[in-house]
């Protein structure tokens, strides 16, 4: 148990990210790549992810405004988004991406739109939670090792 109250709060926040299913094992993989030389590696990767995601989400939004839907294009965009979500361990977002792709493959436009709305919600939640987490991490200062969730 962390003695420093900020570190304790950070550990609790981190645990809840996993418990609530926002992030998975891949997130831990990234944490393990962090070290004294690159203490903010995870945040840097996640920041890149936000940048890429903003572009892809915009592309999908624009594609969903054109009728009839180009399901192949939509699927291709979501494949990209799913890939980077997977690389940072964004569990819920990744799951929603998979669902969207299934709707694309079956040509279900309604399903795509519903799924996309849900995906944007999950993505926004993830950003909020990770944002708070990284902010506290920077305030709390460097830690020795990443601890695995139980």
């Amino acid at each position: 148990m962390e003695r420093n109250p900020m570190r304790r709060q950070l550990a609790i926040m981190r645990q809840s990210l996993f418990d609530q299913g926002h992030v998975d094992e891949q997130f831990v993989q990234l944490e393990e790549l962090q070290d004294d030389a690159n203490p903010n590696f995870v945040e840097e990767v996640v920041t890149l992810y936000y940048r890429d995601s903003a572009r892809i989400i915009l592309n999908i939004e624009q594609a969903l405004e054109r009728k009839p839907f180009d399901f192949r294009k939509l699927d291709a965009y979501m494949h990209q988004f799913k890939g980077s979500s997977s690389s940072i361990g964004a569990k819920k977002v990744k799951a929603e991406s998979t669902l969207f792709r299934e709707y694309c493959k079956s040509g279900n436009g309604e399903g795509c739109m519903r799924s996309f709305q849900q995906l944007k919600k999950e993505y926004a939640t993830l950003r909020k939670k990770l944002g708070a987490y990284f902010q506290l991490a920077r305030q709390a200062g460097p830690v020795e090792t990443a601890s695995r969730p139980k």
Binding site: Q29, D52, S87, G89
Partner: protein
Amino acid sequence: MEVAGEVLASESQLHVLAVDDSHVDRKVIEKLLKISSCKVTTVESGARALQFLGLDEEKGSLGFNGLKVNLIMTDYSMPGMTGYELLKKIKRSSAFREIPVVIMSSENILTRIDSCLEEGAEEFLVKPVKLSDVKRVMNDCIMRGETEGNKRRRVDKRKFEDDNHASSSSSSSIPSSPSSPLPSSPSTAATSSPLHSLKRAKLRDHN
């Protein structure tokens, strides 16, 4: 990141060329490779990779900065030239065919894995790539070495597998080092069924 205990001469460090259209994945693979004591060059496309290698001019495997490329790790799904197409171009080039190529893909499709291995890919890693995957690939590279004997064995193995393509049903991304003690991880679970291991081991035993 240079660590005091592992200052290696440039020549003895593996130089890996990583190809991926995703910024996120390039950053991650670069870190994974650096932590595994490799020199890394990342590029965003197959075309850039070929440019870096100087393939169009058949100059040899020297990159722009004169560093020999020891390994290529490429994403499969990329716009323009896919990783598979890049793999084919490299394996069909007299100058670069000996460079091991590892394919990375988020999609665990058996026919895809088979085609890549048939074209001469050393391994097929399922994304997201983990440190254990990279370490395994590194170990295989080091074990393989750069000796003529090893090169010949690799070429023979490929030829043997071509000859036996009709009889073998499917291969999988088993590391070429049979004794590597791997914990089971998502990236190998789907492709390393006992039957696949057996077939792969049998093919290797015949060399």
